[in-house]
């Protein structure tokens, strides 16, 4: 890669597990370098001493390795040819196809000026009532699934991606198992959707630190299609916990003082820089949007761990999956799941009773949970408790289960039918305006 006028350094003064240091002049911060062909990035400059983070690890690097500085930050060549292709963390094809020709763009670019954003307002329909009814997604939103590793989050995410009407779907896979990588590949290809999908994949077989490039690669491609082509882009990032783990490895090797859960003190800013790339552009600049659906795996459902905790403060809600023992199906948990942007579309792009019906349905489901506790503690149940329990079963089966595929109008009708079946009018606490219209039971 070295050209005639690039200086080659051959004297490395220090090697750790992740970094190499050497004396060099005229080096820019964040700049890329190659060390015997391995990619590395400048992370510290003190006078002539330059420290490089080596993505593949430093095993086998000799102290007389050839170091060449490339004079640029990590970048990706963008063009329409990206569509349908699979790449590694450096943006090189892994599908046997040719390299991409196009404009070279530095990844991790600047932020959108907040005043040039538009308030998200387009509903993304997924057909899953646990999402569309209770936690409606909006284009330009960023939202993760909080899930334990054994839950079918990748399957649900793939389903959402296939049903959502997006011009491009960009998959960023970090520490993905080879099996999951093939799952996504097959799902996309079986759906005949390959031509609108772009994937950047780092599998568990690849070096962990390489993962740090994946989200920025995926989002640089997303920005190309959203900003220059004004397309609706959906970005899937799985799994962000693997990404954070790599951050902590690097920070540890750099001797930084760790904060909570051994994560670097800058975790919040690091994650925010990625998630905040989600955006809806106004028509005045031609439209286009980036929506991010991510996965944050939890350890034993613990959301107080630094990764889910910081994520929760950044993203616009979170979705939880849970296996419901009543109906034996995976459901989207209505209590802990939240879409912060739902009120931008609920009742505005959907039927007017949406918000109130949703809240009442969840409240009654909570009453059922209380009744269940009572039952478990051996107390007598009231008639209301029993009705709540019956309702909860219906609600989980007909609405919360992820195998439901309805439009929002149908979801609302189903909910009203459950209200009519199990409850009395005054148990709903819904505005009269709506009960006049949809409450059919006499009495």
């Amino acid at each position: 890669m070295a050209t005639a006028f690039q200086k080659v350094y051959t004297k490395i003064s220090q090697i750790t597990k992740a970094t190499c240091s050497l004396k060099a002049k005229g080096v820019g911060y964040d700049e890329l370098a190659t060390i015997n062909g391995r990619l590395a990035q400048v992370v510290k400059i003190v006078g002539d001493d330059v420290t490089l983070q080596v993505f593949e690890g430093t095993g086998g690097i000799p102290t007389n390795a050839e170091v060449t500085f490339l004079g640029k930050a990590p970048s990706l060549k963008v063009s329409d040819d990206l569509a349908g292709r699979f790449f590694n963390a450096y943006g090189h094809p892994i599908d046997g196809g040719p390299e991409i020709e196009g404009k070279e763009v530095e990844i991790g670019g600047p932020s959108v000026n907040p005043v040039r954003r538009k308030q998200p307002s387009e509903l993304i329909a997924t057909g899953i009532a646990g999402i569309d009814l209770n936690n409606t997604l909006v284009s330009g939103q960023k939202i993760p699934f909080f899930a334990d590793p054994d839950q079918p989050f990748n399957e649900v995410m793939a389903m959402v991606a296939m049903r959502a009407k997006a011009d491009k779907i960009i998959l960023g896979g970090m520490g993905m198992t080879n099996d999951d990588y093939y799952f996504f590949r097959n799902t996309f290809s079986n759906a005949g959707a390959l031509d609108r999908i772009i994937s950047f994949i780092n599998t568990t077989e690849d070096p962990a630190v390489e993962r740090l490039l994946i989200p920025d690669m995926a989002l640089t491609a997303a920005e190309y299609f959203a900003v220059e082509k004004h397309e609706t882009v959906l970005v899937l990032l799985t799994d962000m916990t693997s990404y954070a783990d790599s951050l902590s490895i690097v920070s540890n090797r750099m001797d930084q003082i760790p904060s909570k859960d051994s994560m670097p003190g800058s975790l919040y800013s690091d994650l925010a820089k990625i998630y905040e790339k989600a955006v809806q552009f106004p028509e005045s600049v031609g439209g286009g949007s980036i929506t991010i659906i991510a996965v944050t795996t939890l350890s034993g459902g613990d959301i107080t761990h630094a990764v889910p905790d910081n994520t929760g403060y950044i993203t616009e809600g979170q979705l939880y999956l849970r296996r419901d023992s009543d109906v034996g199906k995976v459901v989207v948990d209505p209590f802990r799941s939240l879409s912060r942007l739902k009120q931008l579309v609920a009742g505005k792009k959907t039927r007017k009773d949406h918000a109130q019906v949703m809240n009442a349905a969840i409240r009654l489901y909570a009453d059922a949970a209380n009744a269940k506790t009572k039952l478990e503690n051996g107390f007598d149940l009231t008639d209301y408790d029993n009705r709540c329990l019956d309702y909860a079963k219906d609600y989980a089966e007909k609405l919360l289960a992820i195998d439901v595929n309805l439009n929002t109008e149908e979801m609302l009708d189903v909910t009203w039918s459950l209200f009519n079946k199990h409850f009395e009018l005054e148990e709903l606490n819904i505005k009269k305006e709506f009960t006049d219209q949809y409450w059919t039971k006499k009495g």
């Binding site: 002049k25 005229g26 080096v27 820019g28 911060y29 964040d30 700049e31 510290k44 400059i45 003190v46 006078g47 930050a73 530095e106 670019g109 600047p110 932020s111 959108v112 000026n113 907040p114 005043v115 040039r116 954003r117 538009k118 308030q119 330009g140 939103q141 930084q256 003082i257 760790p258 909570k260 003190g265 800058s266 919040y268 800013s269 925010a272 820089k273 905040e276 790339k277 955006v279 959301i303 107080t304 761990h305 929760g312 403060y313 950044i314 616009e316 802990r336 912060r340 009120q343 969840i362 409240r363 909570a366 009572k374 503690n377 008639d383 209301y384 005054e426 148990e427 505005k431 009269k432």
Partner: protein, 579 residues
């Protein structure tokens, strides 16, 4: 001016070798590839100066030039700031080119060519001191004052002042002669270093005037006052932002400044999308007219995040000096503390608890201390009310930011996961939360005159009922519905009616979102009457449940009805009939 040369780079911390004197906190600009990057001195070791850069340092090389400015981080204060969207360093975001924020792009905070209708207040020969009102201009119907320079020491005589007419912000509107005989040209613009509190007032008494927010759980249960301080800690998803937005929409303040400090960009977008359409319930004018947004969202440079809260506070103090009531909201102070932590870490300082810098408590205390209700030198009053949110890691309130804030803020609105899960919004815990102002005799005196004498005793009585209700709920959980006397159920349901009718409020319902004080008084009286009634004759607990559920439903329908409408009175009559 002193110059420097870059000798090291670690993320946004840069070391410079300098050739002359520098100030701690001095601002400098580092030139790289045609961009000028603003930076602030944070540590000096001999001729090595450590600066934090307010921008990305990508591509910065050893040997790049830096120029010092001779002053600390300061902002410009003058007419033309209302309805603006600024970044943390007071760049006007609307004036920036392009969709993306370009590094090194700085824009003027004030509109230099705009003409203002100026009217003098003083005349030639008058003696004035720093911050005295020299004249006034009107901006968005707010009477703004043009003041003598804040930094001016001693007194000065007005040598000349321009007659009423149209002037630009940088025009000289007055000439003052100081005691030393020096002439100062005064324009409409003041400069102030953001990290210093403005102390240009005579006295800062204990605040006592209720600041109406239209949020019942605040106004009725835990009121905040003009010039008071409060904080809202809560795990994510418990409605911090919704609550803050509700307060900023409805609060009875002249100016509202919102510092979006390291939070989501879409939340800022929500404000400047909705506020130009929404009406200030107190004046009937557009909300945006009284609002300033300081947006340093989470993806913007970290160092500027710290600056953003100070920028916002300095603006608030500026308007207070004009005798205005300012409400300042910072969302979230935890992000500010995290920015401090990142920097402290890069400087390799010994860490305090949770790796935060050791002086975190002092910084938080100083910041909250800048709020207050003040008597100005001319006898007028002004106030800065400060409400900050805290985002405790893992929702655990035993963490340094929450603990340090609790020591200094007088109101505590604890958002609770459990309430949020049950969709009992706003999820402010009625038992843990408090307002110290309820204990102030000054406040009690004010409420006596402003509402009535029974208000505070009634509120305290309901608080006790909430406490009692919680205890009984626990007993019922242990003993079962049948295991406790029927009266226990009555007590429990009385606390539920307080919760459902007063505390819970639908921020997304047009009518329920705002409850004016008069209406709060009426609903408080009604709920008190329901609770004070002792002669309920229930035989079994299911009867109690049915009765109170019906009552709650009717009261809620009342809350959803237009105040004093036919429908409203209809529901009220039904409630009274049930009593």
């Amino acid at each position: 001016m002193t110059k420097g040369i870059v000798s090291g780079v670690v993320s946004n911390m840069v070391t410079l070798r300098v050739d002359g004197p520098v100030l701690q906190g001095e601002i400098c600009y580092i030139t790289t590839g045609g961009d000028r990057l603003m930076a602030e001195v944070i540590k000096v070791v001999g001729s090595d100066v450590y600066v934090q850069v307010f921008e990305s340092t990508r591509g910065l090389k050893v040997g790049s030039q830096a120029e010092f400015t001779g002053h600390q981080l300061e902002i410009q204060l003058g007419p033309g700031m209302l309805s603006k969207n600024y970044d943390g360093l007071q760049n006007d975001l609307d004036k920036m080119d392009g969709v993306f924020l370009r590094r090194g792009q700085y824009t003027a905070p004030l509109d230099e060519d705009r003409l203002w209708d100026f009217e003098p207040i003083v005349k030639a020969g008058d003696r004035v001191q720093g911050s005295d009102w020299l004249g006034k201009v009107e901006e968005n119907h707010q009477p703004l004052k043009i003041m003598a320079p804040f930094q001016m020491e001693g007194t000065a005589v007005v040598k000349s002042i321009v007659p009423a007419g149209q002037y630009k912000v940088n025009d000289t509107i007055a000439v003052l002669t100081t005691e030393a005989g020096e002439d100062i040209n005064v324009t409409m613009v003041q400069h102030w270093p953001v990290k210093f509190a403005m102390t240009n007032y005579k006295e800062k008494p204990r605040p006592f005037k209720l600041l109406e927010t239209g949020v019942r759980t605040i106004d009725t249960f835990n009121p905040i006052v003009e010039g008071g301080t409060g904080f809202i800690p809560g795990p994510f998803g418990t409605g911090k932002t919704v609550l803050q937005h509700a307060i900023s929409k409805q609060a009875e303040a002249d100016i509202v400044i919102i510092a979006a400090c390291g939070e989501r960009a879409n939340e800022v977008v929500e404000i400047f999308t909705e506020f130009p359409e929404l009406i200030d319930p107190h004046t009937g004018r557009k909300l945006m007219e009284r609002t300033i947004i300081i947006a340093n969202t989470s993806n913007m440079p970290v160092a500027a995040r710290e600056a953003s809260v100070y920028t916002a506070m300095t603006m608030a103090e500026y308007y207070r000096s004009m005798g205005l009531r300012v409400l300042l909201m910072a969302d979230s102070t935890s992000r500010w503390a995290q920015a401090l932590r990142e920097m402290s870490n890069r400087m390799e300082e010994l860490p305090g608890p949770d790796a935060f810098p050791m002086d975190l408590g002092a910084l938080v205390a100083n910041f909250y201390g800048r709020a207050g209700y003040v008597y100005l030198n001319n006898g007028e009053v002004g106030s800065v009310t400060f409400l900050g949110t805290v985002s405790p890691a893992g929702g655990n309130l035993k963490e340094p930011v929450t603990e340090n804030t609790k020591k200094v803020a007088r109101c505590f609105y604890a958002l609770e996961q459990d309430r949020a899960d049950k969709k009992r919004y706003p999820a402010v815990n009625p038992i843990d939360s408090y307002s110290k102002y309820l204990e102030y005799p000054e406040f009690a005196e004010y409420i006596k005159g402003h509402i009535n004498e029974e208000w505070i005793p009634k509120v305290l009585a309901l608080k006790t009922r909430m406490q009692r209700g919680k205890e009984i709920a626990e007993q019922i959980n242990i003993l079962g519905d049948d295991g406790v006397p029927v009266e226990y159920h009555v007590t429990f349901w009385k606390s539920e009616i307080i919760d459902f009718v007063i505390l819970q409020q639908d921020a997304f319902d047009e009518i329920d979102a705002v409850t004016p004080l008069e209406r709060q008084e009426e609903i408080l009286n009604l709920v008190t009457a329901i609770c004070d009634k002792e002669d309920y004759k229930f035989v079994e607990f299911e009867e109690v449940t049915r009765y109170f559920k019906k009552m709650i439903n009717l009261c809620k329908q009342m809350n959803y009805s237009v105040y004093k409408s036919e429908q409203y009175y209809d529901f009220k009559k039904q409630v009274e009939a049930m009593l």
